[in-house]
Symmetry: C2
Subunit: 247 residues, 2 copies
Protein backbone atom coordinates (compact mmCIF):
# COMPACT_ATOMS: atom_id res chain seq x y z
CA UNK A 1 0.00 0.00 0.00
CA UNK A 2 1.17 3.50 -0.85
CA UNK A 3 0.89 6.12 1.91
CA UNK A 4 1.03 9.89 1.61
CA UNK A 5 2.59 11.65 4.60
CA UNK A 6 2.35 15.34 5.46
CA UNK A 7 5.29 16.33 7.64
CA UNK A 8 6.43 19.14 9.86
CA UNK A 9 9.98 19.56 11.07
CA UNK A 10 12.40 21.92 12.74
CA UNK A 11 15.37 21.48 10.40
CA UNK A 12 17.95 23.03 12.75
CA UNK A 13 19.59 19.75 13.77
CA UNK A 14 19.48 18.05 10.37
CA UNK A 15 21.65 17.76 7.27
CA UNK A 16 18.57 18.38 5.16
CA UNK A 17 15.97 16.06 3.68
CA UNK A 18 18.01 13.72 1.55
CA UNK A 19 19.98 10.86 3.08
CA UNK A 20 23.63 10.94 2.13
CA UNK A 21 25.96 8.00 2.53
CA UNK A 22 26.25 6.97 6.14
CA UNK A 23 24.74 9.98 7.89
CA UNK A 24 21.33 9.23 9.23
CA UNK A 25 21.04 12.80 10.46
CA UNK A 26 18.63 13.64 7.64
CA UNK A 27 14.84 13.84 7.68
CA UNK A 28 14.51 11.12 5.04
CA UNK A 29 16.98 8.96 6.98
CA UNK A 30 15.05 9.34 10.24
CA UNK A 31 11.73 8.51 8.59
CA UNK A 32 13.10 5.45 6.82
CA UNK A 33 14.78 4.23 10.00
CA UNK A 34 11.57 4.45 12.01
CA UNK A 35 9.43 2.94 9.23
CA UNK A 36 11.86 0.07 8.70
CA UNK A 37 11.77 -0.76 12.38
CA UNK A 38 7.98 -0.55 12.54
CA UNK A 39 7.29 -2.65 9.43
CA UNK A 40 10.36 -4.85 9.17
CA UNK A 41 10.51 -3.82 5.51
CA UNK A 42 13.19 -2.02 3.58
CA UNK A 43 11.52 1.28 2.79
CA UNK A 44 12.18 4.33 0.65
CA UNK A 45 10.47 7.60 1.52
CA UNK A 46 10.07 10.04 -1.38
CA UNK A 47 9.83 13.71 -0.45
CA UNK A 48 8.22 16.42 -2.58
CA UNK A 49 10.92 18.96 -1.73
CA UNK A 50 14.54 18.11 -0.98
CA UNK A 51 15.00 20.74 1.71
CA UNK A 52 18.60 21.80 2.44
CA UNK A 53 20.42 21.46 5.74
CA UNK A 54 18.81 23.78 8.29
CA UNK A 55 15.63 24.38 6.25
CA UNK A 56 12.30 23.74 8.00
CA UNK A 57 8.95 22.40 6.86
CA UNK A 58 5.38 23.05 7.93
CA UNK A 59 3.86 21.02 5.10
CA UNK A 60 6.44 18.78 3.45
CA UNK A 61 4.74 15.92 1.63
CA UNK A 62 6.18 12.47 1.14
CA UNK A 63 5.04 9.02 0.10
CA UNK A 64 6.15 5.53 0.98
CA UNK A 65 5.17 2.21 -0.55
CA UNK A 66 4.85 -0.60 1.98
CA UNK A 67 4.33 -4.29 1.25
CA UNK A 68 2.05 -4.61 4.26
CA UNK A 69 -1.29 -2.91 4.79
CA UNK A 70 -1.47 -0.70 7.87
CA UNK A 71 -4.10 1.45 9.46
CA UNK A 72 -2.94 4.93 8.39
CA UNK A 73 -3.89 6.61 11.67
CA UNK A 74 -2.07 3.97 13.68
CA UNK A 75 0.97 4.21 11.41
CA UNK A 76 1.00 7.99 11.97
CA UNK A 77 0.77 7.63 15.75
CA UNK A 78 3.48 4.99 15.90
CA UNK A 79 5.80 7.03 13.68
CA UNK A 80 5.27 10.10 15.87
CA UNK A 81 6.03 8.07 18.95
CA UNK A 82 9.39 6.87 17.61
CA UNK A 83 10.42 9.98 15.67
CA UNK A 84 12.36 12.68 17.54
CA UNK A 85 10.51 15.67 18.98
CA UNK A 86 11.48 17.92 16.06
CA UNK A 87 9.78 15.80 13.35
CA UNK A 88 6.03 15.19 13.19
CA UNK A 89 3.81 13.27 10.81
CA UNK A 90 0.74 15.51 10.62
CA UNK A 91 -1.23 13.30 8.25
CA UNK A 92 -0.95 9.80 6.85
CA UNK A 93 -3.42 8.62 4.22
CA UNK A 94 -3.52 5.65 1.83
CA UNK A 95 -3.18 6.82 -1.77
CA UNK A 96 -3.30 5.10 -5.19
CA UNK A 97 -0.20 3.08 -5.98
CA UNK A 98 0.86 5.48 -8.77
CA UNK A 99 0.97 8.56 -6.47
CA UNK A 100 4.47 10.05 -6.15
CA UNK A 101 4.87 13.05 -3.84
CA UNK A 102 7.46 14.80 -5.99
CA UNK A 103 6.48 13.83 -9.52
CA UNK A 104 2.79 14.55 -8.94
CA UNK A 105 3.27 17.85 -7.12
CA UNK A 106 1.86 20.74 -9.16
CA UNK A 107 3.10 23.52 -6.91
CA UNK A 108 4.80 24.51 -3.69
CA UNK A 109 4.85 27.44 -1.33
CA UNK A 110 8.03 28.37 0.52
CA UNK A 111 8.28 31.19 3.07
CA UNK A 112 11.47 33.04 3.91
CA UNK A 113 11.45 34.88 7.25
CA UNK A 114 13.98 37.50 8.32
CA UNK A 115 14.18 40.16 10.98
CA UNK A 116 14.16 43.82 9.95
CA UNK A 117 14.46 45.24 13.46
CA UNK A 118 17.38 44.93 15.87
CA UNK A 119 15.60 42.32 18.03
CA UNK A 120 17.00 38.90 18.91
CA UNK A 121 13.55 37.22 18.71
CA UNK A 122 14.63 34.64 21.27
CA UNK A 123 11.49 32.49 20.87
CA UNK A 124 11.47 32.28 17.06
CA UNK A 125 15.18 32.72 16.41
CA UNK A 126 15.68 29.19 15.07
CA UNK A 127 13.22 29.85 12.24
CA UNK A 128 14.48 33.27 11.19
CA UNK A 129 17.43 34.85 9.46
CA UNK A 130 18.53 37.50 11.98
CA UNK A 131 19.17 40.09 9.31
CA UNK A 132 18.45 42.92 11.74
CA UNK A 133 18.21 46.06 9.59
CA UNK A 134 15.34 47.88 7.88
CA UNK A 135 14.89 47.29 4.13
CA UNK A 136 13.34 49.19 1.24
CA UNK A 137 10.53 46.69 0.81
CA UNK A 138 8.86 48.81 -1.85
CA UNK A 139 11.89 48.36 -4.12
CA UNK A 140 11.99 44.65 -3.25
CA UNK A 141 8.35 44.25 -4.26
CA UNK A 142 9.01 45.95 -7.59
CA UNK A 143 12.04 43.71 -8.15
CA UNK A 144 10.04 40.61 -7.28
CA UNK A 145 7.56 41.37 -10.04
CA UNK A 146 10.27 40.52 -12.57
CA UNK A 147 10.42 37.00 -11.20
CA UNK A 148 6.70 36.31 -11.34
CA UNK A 149 5.75 34.36 -14.45
CA UNK A 150 7.61 31.79 -16.53
CA UNK A 151 11.36 32.45 -16.79
CA UNK A 152 14.66 30.71 -17.19
CA UNK A 153 16.01 30.89 -13.62
CA UNK A 154 19.49 29.60 -14.47
CA UNK A 155 21.04 32.66 -12.75
CA UNK A 156 19.36 31.52 -9.54
CA UNK A 157 20.47 27.90 -9.66
CA UNK A 158 23.43 26.71 -7.62
CA UNK A 159 23.86 23.53 -9.64
CA UNK A 160 26.29 24.43 -12.44
CA UNK A 161 25.95 21.10 -14.15
CA UNK A 162 22.19 21.35 -14.32
CA UNK A 163 21.41 19.72 -17.65
CA UNK A 164 17.65 19.71 -17.32
CA UNK A 165 15.51 22.74 -18.01
CA UNK A 166 15.95 25.66 -15.63
CA UNK A 167 12.66 27.20 -16.72
CA UNK A 168 10.18 27.55 -13.90
CA UNK A 169 6.93 29.40 -13.27
CA UNK A 170 6.50 31.55 -10.19
CA UNK A 171 2.84 32.22 -9.50
CA UNK A 172 3.24 34.79 -6.77
CA UNK A 173 5.71 36.44 -4.42
CA UNK A 174 4.14 38.18 -1.44
CA UNK A 175 5.59 40.33 1.33
CA UNK A 176 4.27 40.63 4.85
CA UNK A 177 5.81 42.45 7.80
CA UNK A 178 4.72 41.80 11.39
CA UNK A 179 6.54 42.63 14.65
CA UNK A 180 9.88 43.21 12.98
CA UNK A 181 9.71 40.03 10.90
CA UNK A 182 9.48 40.22 7.12
CA UNK A 183 8.00 37.12 5.47
CA UNK A 184 8.51 36.65 1.73
CA UNK A 185 6.34 33.84 0.34
CA UNK A 186 7.04 32.17 -2.99
CA UNK A 187 4.47 30.02 -4.78
CA UNK A 188 5.42 28.26 -7.98
CA UNK A 189 5.32 25.05 -9.94
CA UNK A 190 8.75 24.04 -8.69
CA UNK A 191 12.07 25.52 -7.63
CA UNK A 192 15.68 24.83 -8.60
CA UNK A 193 18.45 23.90 -6.20
CA UNK A 194 19.00 26.93 -3.87
CA UNK A 195 16.72 29.03 -6.07
CA UNK A 196 14.66 30.65 -3.32
CA UNK A 197 17.65 31.44 -1.15
CA UNK A 198 19.44 33.08 -4.11
CA UNK A 199 16.28 34.99 -5.01
CA UNK A 200 16.13 36.23 -1.41
CA UNK A 201 19.85 37.10 -1.38
CA UNK A 202 19.32 39.14 -4.55
CA UNK A 203 16.16 40.82 -3.25
CA UNK A 204 18.05 41.80 -0.08
CA UNK A 205 20.61 43.64 -2.20
CA UNK A 206 17.73 45.49 -3.83
CA UNK A 207 16.33 46.30 -0.39
CA UNK A 208 19.74 47.64 0.63
CA UNK A 209 19.90 49.90 -2.44
CA UNK A 210 22.84 47.99 -3.95
CA UNK A 211 20.80 46.92 -7.00
CA UNK A 212 17.88 48.60 -8.73
CA UNK A 213 14.58 46.75 -9.09
CA UNK A 214 14.82 47.11 -12.86
CA UNK A 215 18.22 45.41 -12.98
CA UNK A 216 16.45 42.12 -12.24
CA UNK A 217 15.65 41.81 -15.93
CA UNK A 218 19.36 41.63 -16.77
CA UNK A 219 20.06 39.23 -13.94
CA UNK A 220 17.46 36.83 -15.36
CA UNK A 221 18.76 37.31 -18.93
CA UNK A 222 22.36 36.60 -17.90
CA UNK A 223 21.55 32.94 -17.20
CA UNK A 224 24.63 32.96 -15.00
CA UNK A 225 24.81 32.35 -11.26
CA UNK A 226 27.44 35.13 -10.96
CA UNK A 227 24.88 37.73 -12.03
CA UNK A 228 22.66 37.09 -9.01
CA UNK A 229 23.14 37.92 -5.33
CA UNK A 230 24.45 35.73 -2.51
CA UNK A 231 22.77 32.69 -0.98
CA UNK A 232 20.56 33.70 1.97
CA UNK A 233 21.00 31.56 5.15
CA UNK A 234 19.05 28.30 5.40
CA UNK A 235 17.44 28.90 8.79
CA UNK A 236 15.02 31.52 7.39
CA UNK A 237 13.46 29.11 4.90
CA UNK A 238 10.39 26.93 5.47
CA UNK A 239 8.57 24.67 3.01
CA UNK A 240 4.99 25.69 3.77
CA UNK A 241 2.84 23.57 1.49
CA UNK A 242 2.87 21.20 -1.47
CA UNK A 243 -0.02 21.25 -3.91
CA UNK A 244 -1.53 18.40 -5.92
CA UNK A 245 -4.20 18.21 -8.59
CA UNK A 246 -7.60 17.44 -7.15
CA UNK A 247 -8.39 13.96 -8.36
CA UNK B 1 23.24 55.16 38.10
CA UNK B 2 20.44 52.64 38.50
CA UNK B 3 19.15 50.97 35.33
CA UNK B 4 15.92 49.08 34.81
CA UNK B 5 16.15 46.21 32.32
CA UNK B 6 13.27 44.42 30.62
CA UNK B 7 14.40 40.96 29.54
CA UNK B 8 13.29 38.13 27.33
CA UNK B 9 14.76 34.65 27.46
CA UNK B 10 14.33 31.09 26.33
CA UNK B 11 15.00 29.33 29.64
CA UNK B 12 15.59 25.87 28.13
CA UNK B 13 19.36 25.86 28.56
CA UNK B 14 19.48 27.55 31.95
CA UNK B 15 19.46 26.58 35.62
CA UNK B 16 16.93 29.35 36.23
CA UNK B 17 17.33 32.99 37.11
CA UNK B 18 19.32 32.91 40.32
CA UNK B 19 23.07 32.31 40.30
CA UNK B 20 24.09 29.42 42.48
CA UNK B 21 27.61 28.78 43.63
CA UNK B 22 29.93 28.20 40.71
CA UNK B 23 27.44 27.62 37.92
CA UNK B 24 27.22 30.59 35.65
CA UNK B 25 24.56 28.80 33.61
CA UNK B 26 21.87 31.04 35.08
CA UNK B 27 20.24 34.12 33.59
CA UNK B 28 21.42 36.33 36.46
CA UNK B 29 24.94 34.90 36.10
CA UNK B 30 25.06 35.58 32.35
CA UNK B 31 23.85 39.16 32.81
CA UNK B 32 26.32 39.90 35.59
CA UNK B 33 29.17 38.37 33.63
CA UNK B 34 28.47 40.51 30.58
CA UNK B 35 27.88 43.69 32.61
CA UNK B 36 31.07 43.16 34.63
CA UNK B 37 33.10 42.83 31.47
CA UNK B 38 31.49 45.86 29.87
CA UNK B 39 31.84 48.17 32.87
CA UNK B 40 34.80 46.73 34.75
CA UNK B 41 32.63 46.94 37.86
CA UNK B 42 31.45 44.23 40.20
CA UNK B 43 27.73 44.19 39.59
CA UNK B 44 24.62 42.64 41.05
CA UNK B 45 21.52 42.27 38.92
CA UNK B 46 18.23 42.06 40.83
CA UNK B 47 15.38 40.25 39.08
CA UNK B 48 11.68 40.75 39.81
CA UNK B 49 10.91 37.04 39.48
CA UNK B 50 13.32 34.24 40.33
CA UNK B 51 12.27 31.96 37.51
CA UNK B 52 13.06 28.24 37.95
CA UNK B 53 15.27 26.13 35.72
CA UNK B 54 13.64 25.79 32.31
CA UNK B 55 11.14 28.62 32.82
CA UNK B 56 11.02 31.34 30.16
CA UNK B 57 10.41 35.09 30.24
CA UNK B 58 8.87 37.54 27.81
CA UNK B 59 8.94 40.45 30.23
CA UNK B 60 11.20 39.75 33.19
CA UNK B 61 12.29 42.99 34.84
CA UNK B 62 15.58 43.57 36.59
CA UNK B 63 17.66 46.47 37.85
CA UNK B 64 21.36 47.03 38.26
CA UNK B 65 23.21 49.84 40.01
CA UNK B 66 26.39 50.91 38.24
CA UNK B 67 29.03 53.34 39.51
CA UNK B 68 29.52 54.74 36.02
CA UNK B 69 26.96 56.59 33.93
CA UNK B 70 26.17 54.94 30.59
CA UNK B 71 23.92 55.76 27.71
CA UNK B 72 21.06 53.32 28.34
CA UNK B 73 20.48 52.55 24.65
CA UNK B 74 24.16 51.86 24.10
CA UNK B 75 24.31 49.71 27.23
CA UNK B 76 21.35 47.70 25.89
CA UNK B 77 22.96 47.20 22.48
CA UNK B 78 26.30 46.16 23.94
CA UNK B 79 24.66 43.73 26.35
CA UNK B 80 22.68 42.17 23.51
CA UNK B 81 25.82 41.84 21.46
CA UNK B 82 27.65 39.91 24.17
CA UNK B 83 24.72 37.95 25.62
CA UNK B 84 23.90 34.56 24.04
CA UNK B 85 21.18 34.34 21.40
CA UNK B 86 18.59 33.08 23.89
CA UNK B 87 18.71 36.15 26.18
CA UNK B 88 17.69 39.64 25.07
CA UNK B 89 17.56 43.00 26.82
CA UNK B 90 14.41 44.51 25.34
CA UNK B 91 14.62 47.80 27.23
CA UNK B 92 17.16 49.60 29.38
CA UNK B 93 16.22 52.85 31.10
CA UNK B 94 17.79 54.94 33.86
CA UNK B 95 15.60 54.91 36.98
CA UNK B 96 15.72 56.60 40.39
CA UNK B 97 18.35 55.16 42.72
CA UNK B 98 15.69 53.72 45.08
CA UNK B 99 14.02 51.61 42.36
CA UNK B 100 14.25 47.86 43.05
CA UNK B 101 12.74 45.52 40.45
CA UNK B 102 11.49 42.96 42.96
CA UNK B 103 10.61 45.05 45.99
CA UNK B 104 8.77 47.68 43.94
CA UNK B 105 6.84 45.25 41.74
CA UNK B 106 3.11 45.48 42.41
CA UNK B 107 2.09 42.57 40.24
CA UNK B 108 3.09 39.92 37.73
CA UNK B 109 1.53 37.90 34.96
CA UNK B 110 2.67 34.36 34.28
CA UNK B 111 1.33 32.20 31.45
CA UNK B 112 1.33 28.41 31.46
CA UNK B 113 1.00 26.78 28.03
CA UNK B 114 0.17 23.12 27.41
CA UNK B 115 -1.00 21.05 24.48
CA UNK B 116 -4.47 19.50 24.58
CA UNK B 117 -4.24 17.78 21.21
CA UNK B 118 -1.93 14.94 20.18
CA UNK B 119 0.36 17.24 18.16
CA UNK B 120 4.11 17.52 18.64
CA UNK B 121 4.10 21.27 17.93
CA UNK B 122 7.64 21.07 16.61
CA UNK B 123 8.08 24.85 16.29
CA UNK B 124 6.85 25.84 19.76
CA UNK B 125 7.69 22.63 21.62
CA UNK B 126 10.36 24.24 23.80
CA UNK B 127 7.80 26.62 25.31
CA UNK B 128 5.02 24.13 25.95
CA UNK B 129 4.20 21.26 28.25
CA UNK B 130 3.33 18.47 25.79
CA UNK B 131 0.40 17.25 27.86
CA UNK B 132 -1.37 15.94 24.75
CA UNK B 133 -4.89 15.08 25.91
CA UNK B 134 -8.18 16.99 25.97
CA UNK B 135 -9.26 18.50 29.31
CA UNK B 136 -12.53 19.53 30.93
CA UNK B 137 -11.69 23.22 30.83
CA UNK B 138 -15.10 24.18 32.12
CA UNK B 139 -14.39 22.36 35.40
CA UNK B 140 -10.90 23.89 35.50
CA UNK B 141 -12.36 27.38 35.15
CA UNK B 142 -14.75 26.74 38.02
CA UNK B 143 -11.91 25.41 40.15
CA UNK B 144 -9.73 28.43 39.31
CA UNK B 145 -12.38 30.77 40.71
CA UNK B 146 -11.55 29.47 44.20
CA UNK B 147 -8.02 30.77 43.81
CA UNK B 148 -8.94 34.27 42.69
CA UNK B 149 -8.83 36.72 45.58
CA UNK B 150 -6.71 36.88 48.73
CA UNK B 151 -5.89 33.46 50.21
CA UNK B 152 -3.26 31.61 52.18
CA UNK B 153 -1.57 29.59 49.43
CA UNK B 154 0.57 27.47 51.76
CA UNK B 155 -0.77 24.29 50.09
CA UNK B 156 0.72 25.55 46.84
CA UNK B 157 4.16 26.39 48.16
CA UNK B 158 7.08 24.01 47.68
CA UNK B 159 9.16 25.66 50.38
CA UNK B 160 8.34 23.77 53.59
CA UNK B 161 10.36 26.06 55.78
CA UNK B 162 8.63 29.18 54.51
CA UNK B 163 8.46 31.38 57.57
CA UNK B 164 7.13 34.49 55.88
CA UNK B 165 3.48 34.98 55.02
CA UNK B 166 2.08 32.65 52.39
CA UNK B 167 -0.90 34.92 51.79
CA UNK B 168 -1.12 36.21 48.24
CA UNK B 169 -3.73 37.89 46.07
CA UNK B 170 -4.57 36.51 42.65
CA UNK B 171 -6.32 39.11 40.52
CA UNK B 172 -7.31 36.90 37.63
CA UNK B 173 -6.88 33.47 36.07
CA UNK B 174 -7.85 33.27 32.41
CA UNK B 175 -8.07 30.37 29.96
CA UNK B 176 -7.53 30.55 26.23
CA UNK B 177 -7.38 27.70 23.74
CA UNK B 178 -5.93 28.12 20.24
CA UNK B 179 -4.71 25.47 17.78
CA UNK B 180 -4.50 22.74 20.39
CA UNK B 181 -2.65 24.90 22.93
CA UNK B 182 -4.31 25.85 26.22
CA UNK B 183 -2.89 28.99 27.85
CA UNK B 184 -3.67 29.63 31.52
CA UNK B 185 -2.67 33.15 32.59
CA UNK B 186 -2.23 34.13 36.23
CA UNK B 187 -2.07 37.74 37.36
CA UNK B 188 -1.41 38.53 41.00
CA UNK B 189 0.56 40.63 43.44
CA UNK B 190 3.20 37.93 43.80
CA UNK B 191 3.63 34.18 43.76
CA UNK B 192 5.28 31.70 46.14
CA UNK B 193 8.03 29.27 45.18
CA UNK B 194 6.55 26.81 42.62
CA UNK B 195 3.06 28.21 43.30
CA UNK B 196 1.92 28.53 39.68
CA UNK B 197 3.22 25.13 38.65
CA UNK B 198 1.45 23.48 41.63
CA UNK B 199 -1.74 25.41 40.84
CA UNK B 200 -1.50 24.12 37.24
CA UNK B 201 -0.78 20.56 38.40
CA UNK B 202 -3.87 20.72 40.62
CA UNK B 203 -6.04 22.26 37.91
CA UNK B 204 -4.94 19.48 35.53
CA UNK B 205 -6.29 16.89 37.98
CA UNK B 206 -9.58 18.77 37.96
CA UNK B 207 -9.53 18.79 34.16
CA UNK B 208 -8.94 15.03 34.22
CA UNK B 209 -11.92 14.48 36.52
CA UNK B 210 -9.73 13.28 39.40
CA UNK B 211 -10.74 16.20 41.62
CA UNK B 212 -13.94 18.23 41.74
CA UNK B 213 -13.82 22.00 41.24
CA UNK B 214 -15.42 22.47 44.66
CA UNK B 215 -12.70 20.47 46.40
CA UNK B 216 -10.34 23.39 45.83
CA UNK B 217 -11.76 25.05 48.91
CA UNK B 218 -10.48 22.18 51.09
CA UNK B 219 -7.12 22.17 49.34
CA UNK B 220 -6.65 25.84 50.21
CA UNK B 221 -7.86 25.29 53.79
CA UNK B 222 -5.48 22.39 54.36
CA UNK B 223 -2.44 24.71 54.24
CA UNK B 224 -0.44 21.60 53.40
CA UNK B 225 1.53 20.90 50.22
CA UNK B 226 0.31 17.26 50.31
CA UNK B 227 -3.27 18.41 49.73
CA UNK B 228 -2.48 19.92 46.33
CA UNK B 229 -1.63 18.28 43.01
CA UNK B 230 1.77 17.62 41.43
CA UNK B 231 4.24 20.17 40.12
CA UNK B 232 3.62 20.87 36.41
CA UNK B 233 6.76 20.83 34.21
CA UNK B 234 8.84 24.03 33.99
CA UNK B 235 8.96 24.33 30.17
CA UNK B 236 5.29 25.38 29.97
CA UNK B 237 5.80 28.43 32.18
CA UNK B 238 6.64 31.96 31.01
CA UNK B 239 6.93 35.16 33.06
CA UNK B 240 4.94 37.49 30.81
CA UNK B 241 5.05 40.85 32.54
CA UNK B 242 5.96 42.66 35.75
CA UNK B 243 3.87 45.63 36.87
CA UNK B 244 4.93 48.76 38.75
CA UNK B 245 3.06 51.71 40.21
CA UNK B 246 2.90 54.60 37.79
CA UNK B 247 5.09 57.26 39.34
Amino acid sequence: MNYKLVLQYDGTRYDGWQKQGNTSQTIQGKLEQVLSRLTGEEVEVHGAGRTDAGVHAKGQTANVRLAGVYDAEELKNLMNHYLPEDIEVREAVPVPERFHSRLNAVGKTYAYRLTVDGGKHVFERRFLYLYGKPLHTKAMKRAAEYFVGTHDFRSFCANRRMKKSTVRTIKSITFQETDGILTISFTGDGFLYHMIRILVGTLLEVGEGKRSPDSMEEVLKACNRQAAGPLAPAEGLTLEEVFYQRS
